[in-house]
Symmetry: C2
Subunit: 241 residues, 2 copies
Amino acid sequence: MAYELYYWPGIQGRGEFVRLALEEAGVDYVDVARGSAKDGLGIRAMLRVMNEAAHPPFAAPFLRDGDVLVGQTAAILFYLGPKLGLTPKSETDRLWAHQIQLTVTDLVVEAHDTHHPLSIELYYEDQKDEAARRAADFRKHRIPKFMDWFETILDRNPAGDAHLVGRSLTYPDLSLFQLVEGLSYAFPKTMKRLLKDTPRVASLHDAVSRRPRIKTYLQSERRIPFNEDGIFRHYPELEGQ
Amino acid sequence: MAYELYYWPGIQGRGEFVRLALEEAGVDYVDVARGSAKDGLGIRAMLRVMNEAAHPPFAAPFLRDGDVLVGQTAAILFYLGPKLGLTPKSETDRLWAHQIQLTVTDLVVEAHDTHHPLSIELYYEDQKDEAARRAADFRKHRIPKFMDWFETILDRNPAGDAHLVGRSLTYPDLSLFQLVEGLSYAFPKTMKRLLKDTPRVASLHDAVSRRPRIKTYLQSERRIPFNEDGIFRHYPELEGQ
């Protein structure tokens, strides 16, 4: 049976980290909320699960695999990893992969808050001044700190610096690709500069983009373009001069 | 060998979620950064691990257990749970417990950002106005949304509403206790009101506080008092009138 991915239609958002793993593995999945109500899909089908499940996810994305329902992006990937062949073999390395993924999660929250530093109940336009201050801090302090960490852990990988964990592709590699994509969309000048100092991150990003299934996916209609409703938004005023 | 917990001394912070699990289990652990440099402990010992480890944690807290080094609060608890007898038996329930813990993590980030909405590089005093706006949103929208979710999942637990997962104590119960403690310290009026509408959460909180080892711990010097350097801070102006 196909995996069912539930996430808000119209944005890449957190769902994209799961989508990339499903696409790389080449498995069947239904992107439920992007489907049509007449097929029993769509946003209402998603909200129904959130309202009625015995283990209701706090928020999307969540995944249904038969009887298993799991929310939280990093937990979804932890669950899917072994099934998709995208997780390391040893328990210790699986925990390390998960720890990396949770650090990706932290950065995603901070990226979101650059345009919504005060409240998600308000529009960006109602918190633009605060967003500019938060984004300046994010560009100056936070992105470099995270990028340096990713570069360091690539450098220290005893199996080589082509992957975050071990000698082959695992799901955190795909998520790091997506982080670089998203941050480069939101803050192109900042990222262009930073990627020069983090060549291993840049190289992993490029290698992922060239993987056949990822390449096909990125050119398909399944890949929603970045836009200003998502987590990574390009507001030129947030990148300063 | 004793577990080694690494976290900033002087605050409960994220380390406290791990401490509560270790204390409830009654196992030996060393709170490394709170120790003395002449014993090879203290902050420098912590920073050394962060700077030199093959798998360096992005941030504290992290835990060392022999050869295993693991960071990210939720990942530490996922690792420790089975060893401490604080995790459910089935794989599905373990994933659910972890998912709950990751939702606790999300709320902790938001609690922190009420006093630091713009930047952790600035003092609270330099972002007081923004903090007041973010805190108002947090009190009005976010705490209720999370509290309602915890109440709902207690209510829907097929094994009864005394615990979040199954019929006995697991680590997310301890973390929910700590959330209620912290939020009640930071926003006492808000929480007093909300706990009336979430009686299952209130009751679980009280039950945890009466557990013999937790009670002893809370009265010990090992429990650092809440203060205005931690994640949960009491600034009366952030609770409004």
